[in-house]
């Protein structure tokens, strides 16, 4: 029983979700079948949502599921619709694509790693015994921040307050951007009607 109590469940769950997320991300990379890629991507993103749930950020986790996993579904549909030449599509990346992808990916990875290790708060050791449960997980501060009030910055200096006034402007810019993308996608995916004048069908004459 003491062994059971010593088992680090949360570390275990964290590692499980993290390994799933990374492993299936690699799976996306090395698969050639577009639907399997989408499936691996969904599992990878779903594991990331699991990490959010584990961290107590339920709203962000549900958001991850709804937006990214749902978005992957749309991606899958468009991928199948636009690239389907035969029954099971196989995507083979050429050597040039690999090199370009490696350059772009490693640049982003370096940037992210650099950013992650440059925050002193994240690298410092934290006492693990003071971690406590957050019973009142709520999305209200998130919504307030989107509407222009940073509930977590209310104690900040009076002069700095205007600089932390929430995310209303970026939110609106991003949403307008998305709307434009949406209209563009609908424009590109619409049925191209040919200007052919057809003979008008006789109407109402089908009774016989």
């Amino acid at each position: 029983m003491m062994l059971l109590a010593a088992f680090p469940l949360y570390d275990f769950l964290f590692m499980l979700f993290a390994i799933m997320a990374c492993g299936f991300a690699v799976g996306v990379l090395f698969s050639t079948n577009i639907v399997r890629m989408a499936f691996y991507l969904v599992i990878s993103l779903g594991s990331t949502a699991g990490l959010f749930f584990l961290a107590g950020a339920e709203f962000v986790g549900a958001m991850q599921l709804m937006i990214y996993v749902g978005g992957t579904m749309v991606l899958l549909i468009f991928g199948v619709m636009l690239t389907a030449q035969e029954r099971f599509i196989s995507l083979q990346a050429s050597g040039r694509d690999w090199i370009l992808g490696l350059i772009a990916g490693s640049a982003l990875l370096l940037l992210l790693l650099n950013a992650a290790f440059s925050v002193p708060k994240w690298t410092a050791d934290r006492p693990t015994d003071t971690l406590a449960v957050d019973q009142s997980k709520t999305a209200t501060p998130l919504g307030l921040a989107l509407a222009g009030v940073r509930a977590d910055k209310l104690g900040a200096d009076e002069k700095l307050q205007p600089g932390m006034s929430g995310y209303l402007l970026p939110f609106v810019i991003v949403s307008i951007h998305l709307l434009i993308v949406l209209i563009g996608a609908a424009y590109m995916a619409r049925t191209k009607r040919k200007q052919v004048v057809t003979n008008p069908e006789p109407t109402g004459g089908s009774a016989d």
Partner: protein, 441 residues
Amino acid sequence: MADTINQFLGLDVGSWFGYVVTSLIHCALLLQVVAVGALVFIWMERKIAGRIQDRLGPTRVGGRFGWLQTLADGLKLITKEDLIPADADRMLFKLAPYVAFMASFSAFLALPFADGWVGQHVNTAVFFVLAVLGLEVFGVILAGYSSGSKWSLFGAIREAAQVVSYEVPLGLCVVVPVFLCGTMNLVTIANKQAGLFTNWLVFHDPFTFCTFWVYFTCATASVNRAPFDLAEAESELVAGFHTEYSGLRWSFFFMAEYGSMFLVSGLATLLFFGGWHGPIPLFGPQMLDWAYAPGGADWALSGYLANLAGCTNFILKAVVGVIFMIWIRWTFPRLRIDQVITTCLKYCVPIAAVCFLGALVWEAMDIPSPNNLNLMSGQPSSTVREHWVLPQKPPATDEKTTPPAESGKPVAMKQSLRPANATLANHRPGQPEPLTQGGDQ
């Protein structure tokens, strides 16, 4: 409950072992709801379809009403051969039914059955349920694609178009009760409708009444039921996405479908029909006063009985919703795909948007509604509503952390939003938020 198990086993309070056992029990109970629910609903569907078509339905198996018919069918399905077409993508073909079933089942984790009786307390439960339920379509698409059959692929693409379209009005409809109650917590939304049936949000104003019907239409479409079952469309596509499936894998799709039906009906019950609060507040403070006081008391037999009755009440209401869906299925002809999309984009979305604005105006202008009258309401609305007013002072630092012994479930990461959360929670009187794992036994 986790603490009780830990004490029973002689472990420390807050050990993870009790928590794991608790979650296993919760999962097993919810699995019963989905599986046994599917058995009952399939039997009900057959009986109701029979009555609507002027015949008897199953009569032989298991006595008078044929109530064991589904179990017999299940046994038959287990013994059937598990066929995989030669052209299929084997891995995805095998996995697809489980994906659909998992999505439907996972959404039950956040669905409360009575005050505090919920698999996992999720503060944004409405959103969680919708997000997870949206994953079910992924199983259908995988099934349709990996079968290597044109009928299946047609069904899958139709399903994708349909579900992506119908999530828009569905979300708009769900937002209406959310802003009326000021929270996304399903327990709070249901508790806010305590009292006489006039407090149900469906009777809040004419707009919420319309919203409920739009919600129900969209929910029927999003769980892929007739008249929106274009993914199956057995008169055109053989059987749509599950053409190539047989045996137990095939039945998983149906368990997922009936589970989702119960889920969206349950969500409608919670959002619009008061959840476990009946038409008459029998266990409320006015009549018997058995129910737990808001804010959570210790375990009491009367409170347990009240919760049990509430759970029954909730299940009955949700089953009425399922029966309603069955009735619709056997009465309406199937729509064409263009009609389905027209119904969504030209009718459901505008109506939902108008209802949303109307309900907003109704609430903002304080037009009287049966909810405002608080007829026999156990909880005046002011005690339940989540406070949106921000504190003027920054929260004191000692409010940030709660002792782990109180909770039994340590979370491994800190949130930057913690101070604001703690303050908001402390400013919220009468919330059922102290109902932790101990409350759901």
